[in-house]
Symmetry: D2
Subunit: 106 residues, 4 copies
C-alpha cells in the first residue's frame, strides 16, 4: 500500500473525494470502531445472531463509504476526463465499470 511518486503523478494531486475527505475519514473511523466492537463481542462469547447484526451494520456502513466515493469519482475524475481527453475518458469509464463490478461483487 506504499504510494510511489510516479503513481501519484499519474493522477491529480487532490483526489476526487477532496471535498468529502473529512466525512469519509469520520465514517471509516466509526467503522474501525464497529469492527473492534464485533471482535469484543466474539471474545465475550456473545450470541451469534447479535454478532451477525453488527456485521450487517458494519458492512452497510462500508458500502455507504463506497457509494460516496463513487459519487465523488464520477463528479470529478470521470467528468474532468470526459471534458478534456477522449482517450483518458475511455480509460476512466473502464476503470469505473471495474470498480462497480467489484463493489457489486459480480
Amino acid at each position: 500500500m506504499t504510494t510511489t511518486p510516479t503513481v501519484l503523478a499519474l493522477h491529480t494531486q487532490a483526489p476526487g473525494y477532496a471535498d468529502h475527505k473529512a466525512d469519509h475519514l469520520a465514517r471509516l473511523h466509526k467503522i474501525e470502531g464497529q469492527v473492534r466492537g464485533i471482535s469484543r463481542m466474539v471474545t465475550g462469547d456473545r450470541y451469534c445472531i447479535d454478532v451477525l447484526t453488527q456485521i450487517s451494520a458494519a458492512t452497510r456502513a462500508l458500502q455507504e463509504v463506497a457509494l460516496g466515493l463513487l459519487d465523488d469519482h464520477v463528479r470529478s475524475c470521470v467528468t474532468d476526463a470526459a471534458r478534456t481527453d477522449a482517450t483518458q475518458a475511455e480509460e476512466k469509464f473502464e476503470e469505473l465499470t471495474g470498480a462497480l463490478r467489484r463493489t457489486l461483487r459480480l
Copy 2:
C-alpha cells in the same frame, strides 16, 4: 453493547461459534487493519479507484465472517433447538431468517 448476565443466561454459555472463535477473531483483526489501511489511503489522498478496491476487499472479508457465523449457528444453536424443543426451534428459525435478511440487505 454491554452484556447483561440475564441475556447471557437465555443462551448457552458457549456460543455456536465456540470451535471457530480464534479463526473469527483472526479474520476480524485483519479486517480492522484493512479499514485502518483504507483511512490511511484517504488521508494520503490516494486515488478513488484504489480506495474502492480496498473497500470491496474489506466488505467481502466481513461477509465471509458472517457466512462462517451463519454456518456455526445453524450447526449448533438451530439444530440443538430443533432436536429438543419445538417452540424454541420456531424462535430460532425466525431469528435466522431475520439475520439472513439483514445479511442479504433485503
Copy 3:
C-alpha cells in the same frame, strides 16, 4: 434441468418448500412479468435510470424468493437430517453454506 429419477430418489419426494410452493410460484411468475416489462422498457428506449430502478426491484424480488427457500430448507431438510443422521446432517450443513455463499456472491 431435466430431473432423473435417480437424483429425486436421493432426496425426499416432497421438497422442503412444499408448504410454500404456491407462494414461491406466484412470486416467480410476478418476477417473470417484471423481467418481460424491463425488456419492453429497453425496446421502447426508456430512460436508463428508470430501467435500472425496475432491475433493482426484480433483483430484490428474486432474493426474497431465495430467502424464503433458505428458510424452508433449514426448517425441513437440514433439521430432519440433523435429527436422524449425523453423516447426512454434515452433508446438509456443507450444502447450505455453499448455497449461502452463492446467494451472498462470495
Copy 4:
C-alpha cells in the same frame, strides 16, 4: 409502465444504452427464460438447493445487465450533461447516486 410522450420529451430520443440495446435485450430474454425455468423446477418439486443455485445465477445475470446500463449511462447521459449544462449535470449526478444506492441495496 406506460410511457407518456411528455416523459420521453424530457430525455433524449435515443437512450444512453442505444449502442448496446440488442445485447441488453438478449440478456433479458435469457433471464426471463431462467426465471421460467426456476418456476418449472419448483413445479417439479426439485431440491431446494438446486433451485437456489438457479436463483443465484439469474440474480447475477440481472445485476450484469444493471452494470452494463450503468456503464452506458455514465458514458452518455452523465458525460453529455457534464459537458454542456452544470445544472443538468448536478441532476444527473444525484440521479446516478440514487440508482447506485438501489442497485447496492443501501
